[in-house]
């Protein structure tokens, strides 16, 4: 039950993008088309889940024994960076179309604060390995939900007669704001 609540809360209530405001860069950058948002979601789910697990392991089995907790940010960034690199290499080979569609934002998952965020939150909240895995996965799902909803809206906005001054990122930010307001409705659940 706890696990399920954790899962739901990470997706809806404390959504990484719309509640914690983490991972805004890819959220805005890769949400112009539904298909790329889909690809980004896949990549983020992979990276976030794996990063949660690996960083948890590294933290508990490497840093803690040596009393190096203060190095966790550094270590996590290292892990995440190399993992993203890995995804990038694989994608470039396996799906060049998705690779070029994700463009600059793929390497930017490295600096996707959602990934680092989830790794650090896992430690802060003193989750065990199972909780860590679920939280990482659910957090990524929440990110995916937000970016997919958002990309759907943006595809439609692309066809709208938006005033010049608001075209593009401006209107996207306004929309993200309203979306975040709407997600506030979930506040208080679990």
């Amino acid at each position: 039950m706890e696990i399920i609540l954790l899962f739901i809360s990470a997706i809806f209530v404390s959504n990484f993008v719309l509640h914690k405001f983490l991972g805004i860069c890819p959220f805005l950058g890769v949400s112009k088309k539904f298909s790329t948002a889909m690809g980004m979601t896949g990549a983020v789910i992979f990276v976030m889940t794996l990063a949660s697990v690996v960083s948890w392991l590294v933290y508990h089995y490497l840093l803690v024994p040596y009393g190096l907790e203060y190095l966790r940010t550094l270590a996590f960034i290292l892990i995440i960076a190399s993992m993203v690199q890995l995804v990038e290499l694989v994608l470039q080979k396996v799906s060049p179309a998705l690779y070029s569609a994700l463009g600059i934002f793929l390497p930017l998952i490295t600096t996707n604060c959602a990934v680092l965020g989830v790794a650090i939150l896992n430690i802060q909240k003193e989750y065990n390995l199972l909780e860590t895995t679920v939280y990482g996965f659910a957090g990524a799902m929440g990110f995916g939900l937000a970016i997919l909803l958002f990309s759907g809206i943006r595809e439609v906005l692309d066809l709208a007669d938006t005033p010049r001054a608001f075209k593009g990122t401006a209107i996207a930010l306004v929309t993200a704001g309203i979306l975040s307001l709407a997600f506030m409705g979930f506040a208080g659940i679990v």
Binding site: I178, A182, M184
Partner: protein
């Protein structure tokens, strides 16, 4: 009207109107003598087919919505009195003003004639507590018209229901004012004491450790009171019967499809019913849930907003069920006592995705039909 307009890259394709100048005088009459043979204006209009049109346009639809809102508004005025009138007046005037001013600022043609700003103003007022201070209403108008609609390009392009954007902006920004419910004091009320809403009463009771049956006994909201509208709440949401009347009118006119209100209300009823059967100590009965809060207002007038809901019937139904589910989740387990606005807003956000996955079946696209026909 369109030719003179700004035609830079960002501006939309426009329609060239043919009717600008009146048709040339018939040849029988002598031409006006003062003009030295200007190029003769052609008489015939050419456009693509069809050359006839249904007797229906956007302003007329919007006016129908206004008519449909009238019963709900009247009941609100009766119960909440002059304080309500003030809110309605400011909301409508404010929406019209912001609509006019913002369009003008952008150098776009005025759209007051389509009546959509009036509808937004009325709906916004109906979603506010009676006796909302004037500045709250004005901020709401600004949020609805500018943030919710015109920033996106105006009617038709807004992804979210403007009145709901405003309500949620206000609810999040001014929680105290937005949850202070004046008691119903009759038509001449100007200033009233506060009262509880049905959903708020339960929330309150649960938080002090009472059970739901105890709370309901204390709050005294029998179903007939809920139907008539004798309860605290937003201006326009109190009377189920009045709202139903307007909603049926719109259904009959064909401006809303039954899938939305039925799907929405039925989902709330069934879901809360299931919860109630599971634990009547913790959850109120489904009738109580169905007839309280802003469910009828939302289901008939907000979730049915054409612009922000799916275009296909199937999509509308999915949309409505989604609204119902989220509403109940927020009501039963969320921090806010009422979730209709949030639910509709969230489903507005999901509308493009619903549209994407509910494309209608193209005539003849089903391979099976074809095979069947061949066998026949």
């Amino acid at each position: 009207m369109s030719m003179e307009q700004d035609k830079t890259g960002a501006s939309p394709p426009e329609v060239a109107a043919a009717g600008g100048d009146p048709p040339a005088p018939p040849p029988a009459k002598p031409a006006p003598p003062d003009k030295a043979e200007p190029p003769r204006a052609p008489r015939l209009v050419v456009s693509t087919s069809p050359h006839v049109h249904r007797d229906q346009d956007v302003p007329r639809i919007m006016r129908s919505v206004v008519w449909a809102l009238v019963p709900g508004i009247l009941v609100g005025l009766w119960f909440f009195g002059l304080a309500a009138l003030q809110v309605y007046a400011i909301a409508v005037a404010g929406c019209l003003l912001f609509e006019w001013a913002f369009r003008r600022m952008l150098g776009r043609p005025g759209t007051l004639g389509d009546w959509s700003a009036v509808v937004t103003g009325l709906l916004l007022a109906m979603n506010l507590p009676a006796g909302s201070p004037w500045w709250l209403v004005v901020v709401g108008c600004l949020a609805a018209i500018v943030l919710g609609k015109q920033i996106y390009g105006g009617l038709g392009y807004n992804p979210f229901n403007p009145a709901l954007v405003a309500r949620v902006v206000l609810l999040v920004s001014f929680p105290v004012q937005m949850t202070t419910w004046p008691a119903q004091g009759g038509p001449l009320t100007v200033d009233a004491t506060t009262a509880a809403t049905p959903l708020g009463a339960i929330r309150e009771a649960l938080s002090v450790g009472q059970t739901v049956p105890q709370a309901m006994a204390g709050a005294d909201f029998p179903v007939w009171k809920l139907l008539v509208g004798m309860r605290g709440g937003c201006l326009g949401e109190v009377s189920v019967i009045a709202l139903l009347l307007g909603g049926l009118f719109l259904l009959r006119k064909g401006h809303i499809k039954w899938q939305v209100p039925v799907g929405f209300i039925a989902t709330v009823f069934l879901f809360t019913g299931a919860a109630w059967l599971g634990d009547p100590e913790r959850y109120a009965n489904p009738l109580y849930h169905t007839f309280s809060g802003g469910l009828f207002l939302g289901a008939f007038f907000m979730a049915t907003d054409m612009v922000t809901s799916p275009v296909t019937r199937r999509g509308m139904f999915i949309f409505a069920v989604g609204c119902g589910l989220i509403t109940v989740i927020i009501r039963l387990w969320g921090g806010y006592p009422e979730g209709v606005s949030f639910a509709i807003l969230l489903m507005n956000a999901a509308t493009p995705l619903i549209d994407r996955y509910t494309k209608p079946q193209v005539f003849g696209a089903k391979r099976k039909l074809y095979e069947e026909a061949k066998a026949a």
